[in-house]
Amino acid sequence: MTSSLFVPLAPFVIFYLGALLIAVTRNRVRQAVMLAIPLIGAWNLYAMPADTVIGVQVFDYTLSLFQADRLSLLFGYLFHLAAFLGAIYAIKVTDNSELIGSFMYAGSALGAVFTGDMITLFVFWEMLAVTSVFLVLARRTERSQQAAMRYIIIQVLSGVILLAGVLLRVHDTGSIAFGHIGLDGTLASKLILLAIGIKCAFPLLHNWLTDAYPEATPTGTVFLSAFTTKVAVYALARSYAGTELLVPIGAAMAMFPIFYATIENDLRRVLSYSMINQIGFMVVGIGLGTEMAINGAIAHAFNDVIFKALLLMSMGAVLHRTGKINGSDLGGLYKSMPKTALFCIIGAASISAVPLFSGFVSKSMIMVAALEEGHGMIWLLLLFASAGVMEHAGIKIPYFAFFAHDSKIRCKEAPTNMLIAMGLAAAISIFIGVYPWALYSVLPFPVEYAPFTAPHVMTQMQLLLFSALAFAVLKLTHIYPPELPGVNIDAEWSYRMALPKAVGLFKKTFGPLDRAVRKTALGLVNSAIGAVFRLHGPTGVMARTTLVGSMVQWVVVLLAVYLVLFMIGD
């Protein structure tokens, strides 16, 4: 299969070297490099013999830079595909830091999924954070700079927690291999889960995502949506499959964001909440741990990367053309951007799991697995969340951007390169929806699930159409809430408002006390210095000099007294 000239490279190397090339090339050449990187990367991966292992020796440990199984290969190809779509979408971007960041970021994701040890995983875990922050910074607004700082702090924190967990685990087990961990009661296993949980956007740990992603550049958000959280899903599937605790966590993730998404005005922030909702389904699948559930979670991760990128690309195109992204400012754009509107609707249909679109063939595997495992309540919640997906992503996104009341904004259709990227993502979503076996054949376990049964199609159509009916009724009766500008308080309130306020209050309360204590202490020190000065200063008693003569005189007096006493005493 491979010629003697072929030297397999760890996939991240191609992206890192490519980023270097991007830095030194311009215009057409650079565009060619951008497109070539994921293609060469995918070819390298394809040409690599299945049992290839690339390692380096560092001190006593052999770090594994590449080893592959079905799980990592699927994510590997997915990341190449996402990078390729992203490259087309970003082909006209000229900002060096953004482009270099994007490709280093994609490379770091590849590094993370193809490593076999936890130390290398940690390195790429942090590289994901450091490289991706440039996509937020590149927006170059005051808000994005601040969001980027919060983002990097939380991401690096996740890495530090991971490192602590890894070190403890290596100490306990003596092995750095990255495999199944599971919650085994050790602190190490809890710390590693927490670190993955932060990147996975577990409830209460999720706000970095909804804070930073909508502040990135139009192209940056597309890249961001594909990698960080999916690396976390991959890590979770590899190391915590079958962990019961993940089932309720995942259900909570699927549920709470749909409420926020409904009232959120920034449409890219709606999609950020939507990401957490979709990852929730995957986390439930991983927690269930059966072959069908894991297959469902991984298949859904694959589909989510494509349709979420598609939705974010359509919203990015709207932002690019109109400069606006709030639902309250948009509407009627189907007149100016009909193709973008069509692609957006395909993305919306895919995420809502309409039959013949990609979400339909993957999400249901998780749902069926939940029922099979006896999680009736979880199943009802996921079904509720599915109606919620229809609400915020299936209807709200396309409706408020492209239809609703006419905002009178008239702009050009999205640039051709963006349309091509969206068209490809839409085609993939439909292809997998129509012919899911292509995806099923590369899943970690053999698939026995048949998606296109009459009951499945009918029940799903009932759920979706009656959800749409509810929207029509609520809209016609004017009960449906309008899009309003504003921010909605979420867990981030704790560190964006409460913490600074608490610090302020602390300063205010203890400031005067602190000042009083300092003043008193300073007074004491000053009076001590004064006393010493009085005694020992130039005029002080202790500093007086006395003549030798008077000293002798006093000695004579003392001796005389002594003599007198002696005589009396005798």
Binding site: T262, A387, Q460, I489
Partner: protein, 81 residues
């Protein structure tokens, strides 16, 4: 730009879409008669369960969110102060 009339500028077309939605809902609801489906959860035995659940879930979600807005919503510059 042009004052070209677009498809949904005509309220008739909007009505037409909504009417087709009603028809589609009716069709899939009635289809429950003819499609044999397994019941793995007790609630599933209800005729038209998925439609009813979808309608209620969607409405509940919107109504609860609307109330939540009163509690959660702040001015856009809330964090900037």
């Amino acid at each position: 730009m042009s004052d070209k009339k677009h498809v949904f500028d005509n309220p008739k077309n909007v009505k037409r879409v909504i009417h087709w939605l009603y028809v589609a809902c009716a069709v899939v609801f009635v289809a429950d008669f003819f499609v044999e489906r397994d019941v793995n959860h007790p609630w599933e035995s209800l005729f038209g369960f998925y439609g009813i659940y979808g309608f209620i879930a969607f409405s509940l979600l919107v109504l609860v969110s609307k109330e939540l807005r009163k509690v959660l919503m702040r001015r856009e510059d809330y964090y900037d102060k």
